[in-house]
C-alpha cells in the first residue's frame, strides 16, 4: 500500500509545484515507485515543470469520470524509470473533480505506487481540500514571509480538521518545508529565521530549501532540480528532505552553492 503525500501551502507562488516535482523525483531517484498527481484543475503546471507537457493525452478528470483508464493517463518519466505523472485538466472546470472519483483513483494508485505525491492548488477551497483529503503525510511549503506563514497556519488547521484521517480521529503527519530561504539575510535580521517560523507554526521541519538560481534554471528546462543538477544546493536540500520523509535521521543544515571561505562562513552562520 502506497503512501499519499500532499504538498500544500494555502498561498500561491511559494513553490508547491516545484517542490512536488523535486520531492517526487528525489523519491524516485531513491528507487521508490512514485506518481506525482496535479490537482490544480484549470491551471495545470506540474506537467510543464516536469517537462512532460507535450506528452499529455488524458488527465485526472478523464480518469475520474471514467473516460480513460488510469494506465492511459499516467505519463512515464523519460529520465527516471520509477517516476510517473498524472496531469490535471487544463480546460475543464474544477467542479468536475468529485470526491468519490478522487477516492477511487487514489485507491487504485495506492496499489501500484509507493508514493502518491499530490500537488495541491493554492487556496483553501474545494480543490485544495480534495488534494489533501486522502493524505497520510503533508508537506506544508512555506516562505519566510508573513503572508505565507499565516496561510500555512490556516492550512495546518484544515489538515487537522477536514481530511479523511482527521475525521477518523487519526493524526496526519505534517512537515514544514521552508523554501526560498536566505540564511545570510536571516542572520542580518532581514528575514524570518527558521526558528521563528518553527515557533509560530509548531510542526516538525522536513527541510530548508535555499533561495537559488538553480530552481528557475531547472523549471526553464522542464526538469526537477534534483535531476537537472543533483549536486546543487536546492537539490541536496530536497534529497535530505526525502531521506527525513523516509524516516532517516539527517542533520539539518542549509546547503549552499557558495564556495571557498565565503561559503564556509555562510554555512557556519546558518547552522
Amino acid at each position: 500500500m502506497g503512501k499519499v503525500l500532499v504538498v500544500t501551502s494555502g498561498k500561491g507562488g511559494v513553490g508547491k509545484t516545484t517542490s512536488t516535482a523535486s520531492l517526487g523525483a528525489a523519491l524516485a531517484q531513491e528507487n521508490q515507485k512514485v506518481v506525482v498527481v496535479d490537482f490544480d484543475v484549470g491551471l495545470r503546471n506540474l506537467d510543464l515543470v516536469m517537462g512532460a507537457e507535450r506528452r499529455v493525452v488524458f488527465d485526472l478528470i478523464n480518469v475520474v469520470q471514467g473516460d480513460a483508464k488510469l494506465a492511459q493517463a499516467l505519463i512515464r518519466d523519460k529520465r527516471v524509470e520509477t517516476l510517473s505523472i498524472l496531469p490535471a485538466s487544463q480546460t475543464r472546470d474544477k467542479d468536475a473533480l468529485t470526491a468519490d472519483g478522487v477516492a477511487r483513483v487514489i485507491a487504485e494508485l495506492r496499489e501500484t505506487f509507493d508514493w502518491i505525491v499530490c500537488d495541491s492548488p493554492a487556496g483553501i477551497e474545494r480543490g485544495a481540500q480534495l488534494a489533501m483529503h486522502h493524505a497520510d503525510e503533508a508537506v506544508v511549503v512555506t516562505n519566510p514571509e508573513v503572508s505565507s506563514v499565516r496561510d500555512s497556519d490556516r492550512i495546518i488547521g484544515l489538515l487537522d480538521s477536514t481530511t479523511a484521517k482527521a475525521k477518523a480521529g487519526e493524526k496526519i503527519n505534517k512537515h514544514l518545508l521552508l523554501t526560498r530561504y536566505d540564511a545570510a539575510r536571516a542572520a542580518r535580521g532581514e528575514m524570518l529565521r527558521v526558528e521563528d517560523v518553527l515557533e509560530i507554526l509548531s510542526i516538525p521541519l522536513i527541510g530548508i530549501i535555499p533561495e537559488s538560481e538553480e530552481v528557475l534554471r531547472a523549471s526553464n528546462l522542464g526538469a526537477p532540480v534534483t535531476l537537472n543538477n543533483p549536486d546543487s544546493a536546492p537539490a541536496r536540500a530536497y534529497f535530505d528532505a526525502v531521506r527525513r520523509l523516509r524516516g532517516e535521521t539527517v542533520d539539518m543544515n542549509v546547503p549552499t552553492d557558495r564556495k571557498g571561505l565565503f561559503g564556509k562562513l555562510f554555512k557556519w552562520r546558518a547552522a
Binding site: G157, S161, G189, E190, D196, I200
Partner: protein, 122 residues
C-alpha cells in the same frame, strides 16, 4: 540615535514580522480557523445589540456607525462610533466620549464611543 544603531534598527525587520504573526495567529486560531468565521460574527452581533439598545432611547442613523477593531497581544478593543443627532437635552449617554472623533463637532450631532473589551488571550 547614532548612524550605526539607525542602520541596525532599519535592518531588523524580521523580529517585527515574528511578533506581528504571533499576535495575529493567536487570534485567528482562537476565533477564526476552518469552518468558523467566529470573530466577524461576534462583531456583527455586538454591533447589532449595542445599536438596538441605543435605538431604544434615541433615533440613530445606522449608516453613520463606524466600527474599529484593534487586536493586541493581551487585550483587544472594539470601538463603535455612533452619531447621535438631537441630543441637547440628554448630553451624557456614553461612558467614554470622544471629543476628537473624526467629524467636526456640530451642534446637532454628538458622537458616542462605546469601547468593549472583546477578547482576552490566555
Amino acid at each position: 540615535m547614532s548612524f550605526l544603531s539607525q542602520l541596525f534598527a532599519r535592518r531588523s525587520s524580521a523580529p517585527v514580522a515574528r511578533d506581528r504573526l504571533q499576535i495575529l495567529l493567536a487570534h485567528e486560531r482562537a476565533h477564526g480557523g476552518p469552518g468558523a468565521e467566529g470573530q466577524s460574527e461576534l462583531i456583527a452581533k455586538l454591533r447589532e445589540e449595542i445599536l438596538d439598545v441605543i435605538a431604544r432611547h434615541v433615533p440613530i442613523d445606522r449608516d453613520k456607525v463606524q466600527i474599529k477593531l484593534d487586536r493586541g497581544a493581551a487585550v483587544s478593543t472594539l470601538e463603535i462610533d455612533i452619531e447621535v443627532p438631537e441630543l441637547k437635552k440628554k448630553p451624557v449617554l456614553s461612558e467614554a466620549a470622544k471629543p476628537d472623533a473624526a467629524k467636526p463637532a456640530d451642534d446637532a450631532k454628538s458622537s458616542a464611543a462605546d469601547k468593549t473589551e472583546a477578547a482576552k488571550e490566555a
